[in-house]
Each structure stands twice: as C-alpha cells, then as structure tokens.
Subunit: 617 residues, 2 copies
C-alpha cells in the first residue's frame, strides 16, 4: 500500500490487549486515512448515545496519507472521539514531530477502546506494541511524564501524553506531544484520562511507501523552494501566528472582556512585536515545515522570570489575554505554559475564565462560589490561579472544568446569553460580528464553534485569499451574503482534505490544490484530480455530520450565542453589527451541501453520491 | 476643487517663460489628474512623429488625486512623454517625498515644452515659479546637484533632477528625486537633458483639499491599522522587494546570463537574506507608506567599502546581477548606486550590458568595438566600468547608451533574437516563459516590455492573488489560457487607476478596490463606485494606446523577442517552455479590450464608451 502502511493498532484497554489489523483497501481508497477513516471506525463502533467518558467511547488516532513524507508541512495527525465537552463528533489535530515518529513504527493509526483497570501507557516500536504500567507517571505534568518515559525507554522515544487536567477529566483537557504541542480542542485529554491511558511512546524507522518516489521528491523540492521565502513564511517566521492580532483588532473583531467589546485598547502590550521583544528566543518549525511559525520562548522579567517553553500562539494571547483583558505579556505567556504543562486547551481555558469573570462582575457568581476569590478583568494573577484550580478540579476550579455551556446551564440568570460557545465548544478569538461569514462558519462546523474547520479567517480577517481554492475572496466582511456561502463550503472541503493528507492548513494559504493533487498522485501511483481531493474532503465532512445527526444535532443547533445575534458591537469599524441573516445563510449552506433545509440532515442522494449510503443516522 | 488644486504650470523652455493655467473641470472629472490627464496634453500638444529629443516633445509631470493626502502610500507621481528609447508613449512613476512636496506648492502638474537655450532649473514655491540658470549644476551628479541646490535655496527645498546620463541623453536615463528615488523607465532623463532642464526644486505647505476630511481621515486610519502588521508589510519591511527573488528563481524564471538560462546557480549570494546581511542598514518608507520596502544601505567590505545609499531593489539585483551573472552583492550594490548617481534606469542598464556580453561571447562584438575590454558574464568590474562609460557616452558606452533595440538593429548577425526588449523597452527580471500570461503582459503594455503596468507577477510568480480585483488567481502558470486574459485586463485597469490616484501598486496586494473607492468618494465629495474606478483606469489606458496607434503601433508590435517565442528554457520547473499561444491570447485580449483584432486599434465604439471619441489616431 502506498501513502499508508495499511495497518492500525487496536488497543482494548479493558482487557489490556493489543492487536493489529489491516485497513481494508476500499476504506483506504475512500478516505485516504486521516480523520475520515477514523470517523468511519467511530461511527461503526461507538453506539449512539454513548457516554463520552465511559467505556463505550473510543479514542482514535489517525495519521494522513502524506504524514511523514518529504512533502512540505506534513507532520500532522488527528485524534477523533466523541467529545465530553460537546457530546458530539470531535477531531483534534496536532503537529510537531510525534505523529511522524508514530507513523515510522509501521502503523497508520490506533483505536483505543474500553477503560483500563489501572493507569497504563502504550509503547510502540516497529511492528510491535505493548501496554505498560503507568502508576509512576500518574499525577505527573506533561514535561515530567515526557522526561520519565525518556529516562526509562531512551531518548530516541518520542512521547504523547496527558497532563493532570486529562487525568482529572477536565472537559477541555488536551492531548500533548513533543512537550509543547497540543491536540487542544474538544477534550481528547479527558477521554484519554477516563481510559486511564497516560501516554504513548513511539520509536521506529519505517519510511512511508511512495509509488513514484523520484517524481514525488521533485514536486516536493519545488514546493519547498517556492515556500522558502514566501511572504507568508517571512511573516509567520518573523512574528509567529500572533502576526494576525493587529489585523483582527483593527477590524474591531478581537474579543475583549468575554466579547463585551472587540477592540483591545492596550494591543501594543500583547501584539506580535511585544511578543518578539519580551519572550521570543527563536522561531521553531514542525516536521518538514519551512514556515516555522512556532516560538521558542522564555520569560525574561517579572515574577515568572526564568520560565521557558514554546508559544504563546495567537489563540492563547486571544483568550488568556484578550477575553480576560490581561495586558501583561509575561503573565499571558506563563498562563500558556501552565496550560501546556497541565494539558489544557488554551482557547477553552481562557474563554471559560473570561466567562466566569463576567458572571462575577454581573453578580451571577459571588465570592461564595469562587472560593473567596475576587474575579476581575485585567487581573493576571486570577487567571493563573484559576488555571491551577481548573487542572486540579480544586474547589471553584471543578465547576470551571465543565466549560461554559454546562456552567451557564447550571447558573442560568441569563448567563447563556454570553456563554461564548457553539454546541458547547468555546469560540476562538475572532468576533464573527466583525466578519459576518465567520458566524456561519462557527454555526455549522462539525466540532462546534471552531475557526480552523474552514479557516475562513484567511480571506476575511487577514485579507489573504487562499490559493487552495480558485476564488476565496469575500467582497465585504460586514455583509452576510448568501451568494458567498459557496466559498465557505469549498474551504471546509479543501481544509478537511488537507487534514486528511496530514498537511498543515497554513499550506492552504500558499500552495494551490493542484500541487497537492500532483503530490497525492505520485504518492499513490494513480491518477488523482482536484475533484478527487475535494471529494475526499467532502466525504469526511459529511460523515462527521451524519455522526452528529445520529447524536441528535439538528438545524436548531447550527446557531450562535445570543450575544452575537442580539448585542451589537459598540465600537470599532464593525460598530452596530450583530451576526445578521443567519437563517438565509444556513438555507444556502444546506442547499450547497445537499442537506435537508428543515432538519440539516445530509439527504440520501448526497450520501449515495459520496458512497456513504451505509452510514445511516 | 477637491483632490487636486486645479492648476498646472506651463514652462516654455525655448522662451524661458513660466505661466499657470487651470485644469478644465471636465478634464479633471474624466481623468482625476494622473497619467491620464498628462496623456491628454501629450496627445493634444505633441504632433504625430515628433522627435522625442527635439523641441516638439513635451515632458509632463502630473500628481494623482490622492497624492499628498493622508491615505496610505500616496506619495507617487508620474512623468509622461514620448520616449527616446521606444519612440512611443511613456510613463515613468516615482515615489519618495518629492511629489508630495511639489503638490504642496499649489500645482497638480507641469508641462515642459521646447528646449532651453542654456541649462536651467525650475524653482517652485507656493503659487509661484521661475527658471534659473543651471550652468553651475551642469555636469554634476544627482547627489552633487541636490546638495548644491539645497545649499543655495535652503534645506527646506526638495530636489528632482537628472544626472550626467540625462545630460548626455542616454536613451534610458532616469529622472531622480529624493536623491535615490527614480522615475526610471523609458528615458525621461534624456528628454529632460535634451531640454537642458537640470532640476526642479520645490517648497510649499499647501494641503490637498478634501471634501469630507473627517470621514477621509477615519477610512485612512482604518487602512493604516490594517496595513500596519499585514503579512506583506512584514515581508517587505523585513526583506525589501528582493524578497521575491527566491520565488522567481524557484519557478525557473529568473533571467540569468541575458536570459540564456533562468535559474541562477548562486542565488544565496544575492537573495534577500544576503542583501540584509551584507548591505542593509535599515528599512525606509516613502511618504505615508507603512510598508517600508526601501533599504538604507552601505557597503561594508571589499573595494567599494564605505559607499552608501539606498537599495538595491529586486530589479537592480535582477538585471545588474542576474542578467550579467554577477554574484558579488557588494558590486551589484555599487552598480546600483552608480546608476542612481548618474541617473540611469537600472533595468535597461543591466539588460543592455547583459546583451552586450552575450554579443561579445558570440563574437558579434569584438575588442575593436569594446575599447579593448573583454566582456564576460560574471565579471563585476566590467559591469561597473560599462556603467561609467554609458553615463558619459564614452567610447563603447556611446553605443550601449542607445539600448538593446538600436544596438541589435546596427549589429544585426542574429542579435535581435536575444535583444531582450519589447517595443524597445528592456524587459524586467521575470522570464515570461516560466509564467505564460506574463508574456502577454509584456507584449501589450503601453510603454513596452514592462512588469508594473498590470503587475501580474503578483498572482503568478509570487502566488499572491491581489485584493484589488475580485479574482486574480491564475490556475496554472505554465499554461497560456485565453480564458484567464480577463485577469490581465482587469489588473491593467486597476493598476492604471492606482497610478492615477498617486497610490503605490503594492497597495493593490493588500487593499481591496472598494476601500480605495470609499477614499476617493470622501476626497471628491461625491459618489464614486468600483465601476468608476475601473473606468478611470480603462480610459487612461486606452488613451495611451490611441497615442501609440497614432505613432504607428499595430498588432505586429505586440509581440515578444524571438528568444522567448522560440528558444525553450533548458532547466528548472519550466524547462522546455517557450511563450506559447500568443496569437490566441492576443485575440482574446483585443476582444476584451474592445480593440480591432486585425490592427490592435481601439474601436470607435470603445472610444465613444470611454468618452474618448475626440482623440483620433
């Protein structure tokens, strides 16, 4: 088999058994591995209504067809599971080097099922794998766990693990790899913790089989040469992902004080320039990636002086900084480090703390709820203290560990108006009132309120049309125009396809899909067209929707928090705007998707067209 | 009047008289000043067949409607004349600060006519202007001239002038401003020299009248905020325009050894990284421009150690470096400085020297022609020596000063095959065989073989779709597809419109036309739509074509050098390619332009539609 090894591991944690099985060729051809194939297993093996933190849920790892090849920025891999935060389909994606090291063991993915009777970790070497006792690792942070495993197995092993937050089943705990890299969203770390699975250590040297290695190498080389001094590379390498923050704020779309306003007054304290001056040591790249948007960093002054790690990324600055209105770059960086060490999703963590502060300021929460803490926007110490409490589920932290949707349901008193999540997933740091089509993107994304399912921020907030589809330019960000919905649909499909390949979505900025198609064709050794690529994306996207429909998702769930629909922005270029025209945008979206307008279900015709007729909700 | 002052200066050099006249309002409304209005005067006042270096030719300066306002990157101004290099319509555009300082004197433009009996320079203060004796400036370099004038008139005067190359009527002499900024192309400096006009010194404080100043300021401010950390800004500020060189070379489209190959083997010696390490002091910006792509530089080692100035820009590296295969960054920088000091267009200079070297290597030129010099690719000393000779028209330099077309006509022996010009204008450093549609762009551009008339390099060589038109993405650079010709036409129109406004074409990367339209509307105080903007560009573009048709340009002139049409590239990703399908591309181009397919003339209907029926060729 080309692209993949054609084999996955199945780990029955309840029974402590590890086995391997072949990926049926027809499934490989249909999904090209990636999240699509993982969703196939999730749909088939996890029964409707399964408790996400119970034994019936599965945690599925899947690399992409190009993961670990020499094509640019192909170090990514996916986790797929039913989310304890949203109760629906979840995918969480990470890069760094671990996914490549895993694929080198000779497997394309792993299905974890059941619950282990005691803490364990999985060790995988070439063509073999076994579970080991992890009692000595339980209670340890991500860096400690990584260090202890490397001490035991050797430096050549690379480690993916959960921290304390995952052990404590914080509903938005992340799964960490390469020390600082996170599969952050949707609470995969909690699922891993519920299964008493602490870590996965891998070591191998098996290369990916490529059908036409010479041609593949040639096309990859050409892409690297093009990317090497691409303008995006220069921008991202110089300033990291936080390069976007000024643009987002200038559009009046940078959520501040839990989205009460979207203009951050002290932006120059936390923008990319500030990050570079205050904490950056040097840029870092993931496997085979010339962009090097990662930041190796250290805190050089103040009370956290001496701490070091990677980041912060834009979304960490956006939520731990923006939503909590923290202007102290060192404190934001420390908060980000702590999230990484505990294994917490920075977006949900910052958003949840921001929500709690607004509840406190509105007296929906009082000191009797908060362990006596006074919660105020702009207080870096409170953010740091709450992160400790959340990860440990200690006192008030136990409540915060449930995420904004559950908190609001419990608190009531109108707090749902400003619980900034969609389908339970906390929103990222782009206010959709300032760029209307992003509201639709949040409303429909399969994993809940998400910005990278389509990455429509690129051609809107960032004013960068994407090369991966022929026309991604949005005419006027302030207008919700149904005629432009096709751009969202195309981007969802192509971004899902990039995920499937194991490629970074940033490649969608700079590399045309035609060039990916060429790589895939050389990899697989048969024709592979642009339409094939889009179809692979569309198929995986629809299968996730079918999973969600089976779990009860309907059109009514494809909506936005009341704040976005009813409270106009009060300042900035988008002042006066709410998210408008959502029903008409949804109508158009369902029409283009081939989904039923009343229910939001993929029609039998659409499923048949995609070869998905056997997956019935 | 809003946008302009409504007044121009008319300088009759033969009679030594300076007068002022109003711009008729209907002309202002039609052209919004800029090159379009200048072309109107050129068409009306310069008779068909006029000798470019004779008294009948005019040299017309015109600012744009937004030049000198607070809108971003609006420091540009235009020179329009009949070119001594090409014999047809010429426009040459520069930025820096001088154009703004000129507009502050209360005039929108100047028409220079006739020939002065002795060297003069023009001094303009608010609402007044007079000619002064320039005998003491004649024979002086650009920096010397600038220094002497400032010593005489005071530091508050800003100077635009020619150097020795212009005095000697080198056919590709530039007009220089702000010491290092060039209106480089088409030989405006030779026209100025032929008129014995050495310089223009300006000083004033008159602001541009804006109809709705508050709204104008608000929109400008928003644009600045958006631009301030735009990815393009980061890339251009960090690395200057030379940031593109790796991309162009990676596509196999970087002309090397006079376009004998288009892959430069030692690129890392001369790329943006090398430039930064070896000669950069700091980035510099033009008036009101946040991008700061300019380079303040100095030579820090080798035989030119201690020389300093601005640049080199990508095109200087491309022609003085690439075409001559010089790998010595310090020598390229010195050659660039010398061109600026003498007032020579770096593109035509480098291209002409490269052409001469190939002629020598092919024994079409021998030592008896070259003053005994041995011309070899890769010899930095020869390039430097020939620049001195060209500017002084000394010996062999007198022949080189005529440009590649005249040289090839005289040399014959097949040298026209590789005289790399279109309509006499030497081509810039992008090989159109590697990106097919750029071949059409070169073939049709009104001023001859030019890259900035449409700037179609953006969405092709640089993989950056432009925001200024709705869809500028070219699907496959290696295919000459008539279905994509509309993108070229749209870009020509919008780029001409940006010129008209006095805005930098780089703004076309990052700012949507809708936003320019808003600025223009606030500036003028009446509605101004996207269609109006495109129409202004289309009108000016067609008027220039009508001028050229009157001078005898036909479809047969809209072509490319034989090397591009017949000699395939031998290496790189575009190996095997020549410029293909040009007749079909031209057919489509004429059809979209509303020009007659057989003759290339704008049809009477098209001229009527644009309100240009009175300009008959």
């Amino acid at each position: 088999m080309f692209g993949g090894h054609g084999k996955i591991l199945r780990v029955n944690l309840s029974e402590g058994k590890v086995s391997q099985e072949d990926i049926p060729e027809d499934l490989f051809d249909k999904f090209l591995t990636g999240a699509g194939l993982a969703t196939h297993y999730l749909f088939r093996e996890v029964p409707k209504g399964a408790e996400p933190l119970g034994p019936e849920n599965e945690l599925i790892l899947m690399t992409g067809a190009l993961t670990g090849t020499i094509a640019p920025s192909t170090g990514r891999f996916n986790w797929v599971f039913k989310s304890p935060l949203t109760g629906i389909w979840a995918q969480s994606n990470s890069a760094g080097f671990w996914g490549v090291d895993f694929k080198k063991t000779g497997y394309d993915g792993i299905i974890f099922q059941g619950i282990s009777p005691k803490p364990v970790y999985l060790v995988i070497e070439e063509d073999k794998a076994d579970l080991r006792d992890a009692s000595y690792l339980w209670g340890k942070s991500v860096p400690e766990t990584t260090k202890l495993i490397k001490e035991e197995l050797g430096e050549k092993f690379n480690v993916d693990c959960i921290g304390i937050a995952g052990e404590n089943q914080v509903r938005y705990a992340s799964i960490m790899n390469d020390l600082h890299r996170a599969a952050g969203r949707c609470g995969g770390g909690a699922v891993m913790g519920s299964k008493l699975l602490k870590a996965i250590a891998v070591c191998g040297t098996k290369p990916v089989n490529i059908a036409n290695p010479t041609a593949f190498k040639e096309v990859s080389k050409k892409q690297f040469e093009l990317l090497d001094q691409h303008m995006f590379k220069v921008a991202l390498e110089t300033f990291g992902t936080n390069v976007v923050i000024d643009l987002v704020n200038a559009r009046g779309g940078f959520p501040t004080r839990n989205w009460q306003t979207c203009v951050f007054p002290e932006l120059e304290e936390i923008n990319a320039q500030a990050l570079s001056e205050k904490v950056l040591i040097e840029p870092m790249g993931c496997f085979a990636c010339p962009l090097r948007c990662g930041r190796r960093s250290e805190i050089r002054q103040g009370k956290y002086k001496g701490a070091s790690g990677e980041g912060p990324e834009f979304e960490s600055v956006g939520t731990l900084g923006g939503s909590c209105h923290v202007t102290d770059m060192e404190a934001i960086t420390m908060a980000h480090y702590l999230c990484n060490d505990y294994g917490l999703d920075t977006i949900s963590t910052g958003a949840t703390i921001g929500f709690a502060i607004e509840c406190y300021e509105k007296e929906i929460l009082t000191k009797s709820d908060t362990d006596g803490l006074e919660l105020r926007f702009g207080d870096p110490d409170i953010v740091i203290e709450l992160i400790h409490k959340i990860a440990k589920r200690e006192g008030f932290g136990d409540f915060l560990a449930e995420g904004t949707r559950r908190m609001a349901q419990k608190l009531d008193k109108g707090s749902e108006r400003f619980a900034m999540n969609v389908k339970g997933l906390e929103l990222p740091a782009y206010d959709s009132r300032a760029v209307q089509i992003t509201g639709l993107a949040y409303a429909v994304a399969n994993r809940g309120g998400d910005h990278v399912t389509a990455y429509i921020q690129g051609p809107t907030f960032l004013d960068i049309p994407f090369l991966c589809i022929p026309d991604s330019q949005i005419k006027d960000s302030l207008v919700a125009d149904p005629e432009e919905v096709h751009i969202l649909v195309d981007l969802e499909n192509v971004m899902t396809a990039l995920d499937t390949l194991g490629a970074c979505k940033f490649m969608g900025f700079c590399v045309a899909s035609d060039e990916w198609v060429e790589l895939v064709a050389h990899c697989l050794g048969h024709d592979f067209t642009y339409d094939d690529l889009m179809r692979v994306g569309e198929r995986a996207y629809n299968l996730a929707r079918v999973f969600n429909v089976r779990e009860g998702v309907t059109r009514a769930d494809d909506t936005l928090p009341p704040r976005l629909l009813e409270e106009p922005l009060t300042e900035g270029p988008a002042a006066g705007k709410v998210n408008e025209n959502l029903p008409a945008m949804l109508d158009k979206y369902y029409e283009l998707r081939g989904w039923d307008k009343a229910t939001g279900k993929p029609t039998p015709e659409k499923l048949k067209e995609l070869g998905l007729e056997e997956y019935t909700a």
